[in-house]
Amino acid sequence: MQEQNGHPPRISARDLFLAFTGITLASFGGALFWSRRAIVERHRWLSEHEFVEILALAQLLPGANGVNLAVLIGYRFDGVRGAFSALAGFLTLPFAVIMTLGFLHRRFGEMPIVHAALTGMSAVAVGLLIAMASRMVVVLQRRWLPWVFVTLTFVGVGVLRWPFLAVVGVLAPFAIYASWRGRT
């Protein structure tokens, strides 16, 4: 729907700023889940495929994934201005919030009720992450090879805790070659 003329639609810098402010404020436990929900489901600016492709690029590039995602999406819809707007939306309020929290933390230390609420929210936030990954697998072709790469990455980085760079550095060339040959 988005690429009828080969050009993505133009979305104003203001809308990008507001959308990413909304995403970032909802982002407890990582921004990816909320980015996908806002960009793909709510605003429908990107299809599931386009989102996963951009997300893959955001994760491949160095830096915070959420920040890269904001920059890539912002640039896609309003160029350099869009990239700056999305980034500003993504960082401004969290910076204010985290500094406030830092002050409160220094002033009041650990309050039991706050700590308890945060423990519960952390458990939920991880669940959101799993739900998101489970939803993303629908973009994989119905073949076995992509699943081999999913599994190898998971076992290497997650289970064995090998260095990220080593695992992706070894797997990526094979994965790209396989997709170049039309196998994934």
Binding site: F90, V97, M99, A131, V157
Partner: protein
């Protein structure tokens, strides 16, 4: 902290920003080594507390960095370290975004992105695998996490309500 020390800290964070493939958490051990072990700007426990504080706050998890900068060097430290980690990767991503926008259908670009998709999904599962035992102390936490996965994938319930539910579960002492 002197100005030259702050400059050194920022330069170091800028370098880490280029190495942070896979996101901010991947360079966490390296930051810990620099600010706790090498320079003793804070204790390991303080470092862990600041990191947890950023995890439960809204926003990208890179926000633990300005908190560390603030702890070490006040407001100047907070602003300087945030810029130090964001600007290098932001610039690089902007360059790549331009290439991507100019050649969205370039065969090699498509192959790279499609090829990396399974790896991306594997990485998200990996994060979950590492985080689940880190945030959950016992079986009740695991139940809450599992319940979240079910609720979010089987119903149209907004995730914000699941989070509120999680907070309530914590307050009543379930986890």
């Amino acid at each position: 902290m002197s100005l030259s020390e702050l400059a050194a800290l920022c330069l170091y964070f800028m370098m880490l920003s280029f190495l942070a493939v896979g996101g901010a958490p991947s360079v966490l051990p390296e930051m810990h080594r620099y600010v706790v072990e090498l320079h003793a700007y804070m204790t390991s426990a303080q470092f862990a507390q600041l990191y947890s504080l950023a995890q439960i706050a809204p926003g990208p998890n890179v926000m633990y960095v300005p908190l560390i900068g603030w702890h070490i060097a006040g407001w100047a430290g907070a602003v300087a370290t945030l810029f130090a980690v964001v600007v290098p990767s932001f610039s690089l991503t902007l360059v790549i975004a331009q290439l991507y926008a100019r050649h969205p259908k370039a065969a090699f670009g498509v192959a790279v992105r499609r090829g990396l998709t399974p790896i991306t999904i594997g990485l998200i599962f990996s994060s979950a695998w590492i985080l689940v035992p880190a945030v959950n102390h016992d079986w009740r936490g695991y139940v809450l996490t599992a319940l979240t996965v079910l609720l979010v994938s089987r119903t149209r319930l907004g995730p914000i309500w699941v989070l509120v539910g999680g907070a309530a579960a914590g307050i009543v002492g379930f986890v």
